[in-house]
């Protein structure tokens, strides 16, 4: 699932936050969005299309495309680019249609 990120390792800051992406700890800058954390973690894709099952990943990072839907702290269908990380936040891929 993991590949090398298409982004360089983020600059180190004193107030960096550790979150959990697909169960693995990832250090991200304070103020990062959950979608940014997934990108930093190098997830090859962040969700599967509920229509075709194809892998998808964040596209616009501005709240328009809804490609970055993630399961955040067990709550599905969250727009990852609009959720700011908190220490210990659990971020998971969203597989197809959300669960009930």
């Amino acid at each position: 699932m993991r590949i090398d990120s298409m982004f360089l390792k983020p600059p180190e800051t004193a107030d960096a936050v550790t979150v959990e992406v697909e169960g693995r700890p990832v250090v991200v800058p304070r103020g990062a969005s959950a979608a940014a954390a997934a990108l930093i973690a190098g997830l090859a894709s962040t969700r599967a299309s509920p229509v075709t099952g194809e892998p998808r990943a964040p596209y616009c990072m501005m709240g328009a495309c809804f490609e970055c839907l993630l399961v955040i702290d067990d709550e599905p269908s969250q727009q990852g680019c609009l959720v700011t990380v908190r220490p210990g936040m659990r971020i998971r891929r969203q597989e197809g249609a959300r669960e009930l």
């Binding site: 509920p50 229509v51 709550e75 599905p76 269908s77 249609a97 959300r98 669960e99 009930l100």
Partner: protein, 373 residues
């Protein structure tokens, strides 16, 4: 000026169904639609195909109509997305369940047995996801749901194939009885025919007024909600005895929530506006019956606009004053299921002046009498 045997005003389900039946009987028929087929309530309603819980006056027609849905492919060459997935009206309290039992008895007294009362155990077998407090339900096993847009288009397509002309972008601007025939002026030309069918939905009152008929109509703007796609979890269409709710999951997994909460209609602008305060009540009703739905995301809400009569029964029949004018409108939010059978009734009325189908309770005369009194 173009000639026809009958002009149908309104390219909704009722207009297209009437046109189909007239065309099948060899008549030259033209449908005049202001925008496009299925633009308003016909194309965007919740798609419930329901005999369950109808006004007793509607039961005979509705039950006859159900046979057409079960043979819908033979009728229009497409299954219209129809599935006989059942309709279930849930009781949340013993008092509600008693009321449903009395209702089922009333239906049986009319000689019909399509509604049955089930207990909590059977309810949970039919609808495993329903909230734990629900005590039973009224069930119609032959009921179901269809895709309203696809249905309306299937009727339009079959009507065309049978020889009807369906003209989109033709807004009626004038309706005159001249030398023994109706002359209908539109933004796309003028037509002349001996008979006119008023199937103009929310705007039917305005069309009737052009012919001198006055109906005490209001406009419904029933709101609907659709959620994101969910895994399959409910099969029947679910309603509630004590709440305004209809709830169903579509084949794509989205959940469609309706039930008649009202938005605001603007007939002049041909638009309708969602009212969030009322919409919240639909959401509340859905969440009460399906608590897990609280976390589901609402993707879209919209309104379908339609004419409503004071007694909430449709207007089907000849104008009491204008010759050759047949009204079919005012379904007050529950006309979709009646679409196929009403086409037959309207064709009878146009061609024979009367029909054997049970539409007597819907005579336009009931309002003429009220106005005269």
């Amino acid at each position: 000026m173009r000639e026809a045997d009958a002009i149908v005003v309104g390219g909704g389900l009722h207009g297209c169904s009437a046109a189909l039946q007239l065309a099948l009987r060899g008549r030259r028929v033209v449908v005049l639609e202001r925008r496009h087929v299925g633009r308003h309530a016909s194309g965007i309603n919740a798609g419930g195909v329901r005999t369950l819980g109808r006004d007793l006056a509607e039961v005979p027609l509705s039950v006859l109509g159900m046979a057409h849905w079960h043979g819908i492919r033979e009728l229009v060459g497409d299954d219209c997305g129809f599935t006989a997935c059942r309709q279930v009206k849930v009781a949340e309290t013993p008092a509600e369940l008693s009321a449903l039992e009395r209702r089922a008895q009333a239906v049986r007294r009319l000689g019909y047995d399509h509604e049955r009362v089930v207990d909590a155990h059977e309810l949970r077998r039919l609808v495993p996801a329903v909230a734990g407090h629900c005590v039973g339900a009224l069930v119609a096993d032959g009921d179901g749901a269809a895709d309203p847009y696809r249905t309306t288009h299937a009727f339009a397509a079959r009507a065309r194939a049978a020889g009807a002309q369906v003209v989109e972008g033709a807004a009626v601007t004038g309706l005159d009885w001249r030398h023994g025939a109706w002359v209908v002026a539109t933004t796309a030309g003028t037509w002349r025919a001996g008979a006119v069918v008023n199937a103009a939905g929310a705007w039917a009152g305005r069309l009737a007024a052009l012919a001198g008929d006055d109906f005490p109509l209001t406009t419904r703007a029933s709101m609907m909600i659709v959620t994101e796609r969910m895994p399959p979890f409910v099969v029947p269409v679910v309603s509630a005895a004590g709440r305004a709710l209809s709830f169903k999951q579509s084949a794509s997994g989205t959940v469609i929530i309706g039930g008649g909460q009202q938005g605001r209609a603007d007939l002049d602008r041909e638009q309708a506006w969602v009212n969030v305060s009322n919409l919240a009540r639909s959401a509340q009703a859905a969440a009460a019956l399906f608590p897990a739905m609280r976390e589901a995301r609402v993707v879209r809400a919209w309104c379908g606009i339609e004419a409503q009569t004071p007694d909430r029964l449709p207007v089907i029949g000849h104008s009491t004053r204008a010759p050759g004018l047949v009204h079919v409108f005012g379904f007050s939010g529950h006309g979709f299921q009646l679409g196929p059978v009403c086409g037959l009734a309207v064709a009878d009325l146009v061609l024979a002046g009367g029909t054997a189908l049970p539409v007597a309770p819907f005579s336009p005369a009931r309002f003429a009498a009220a106005a005269a009194a």
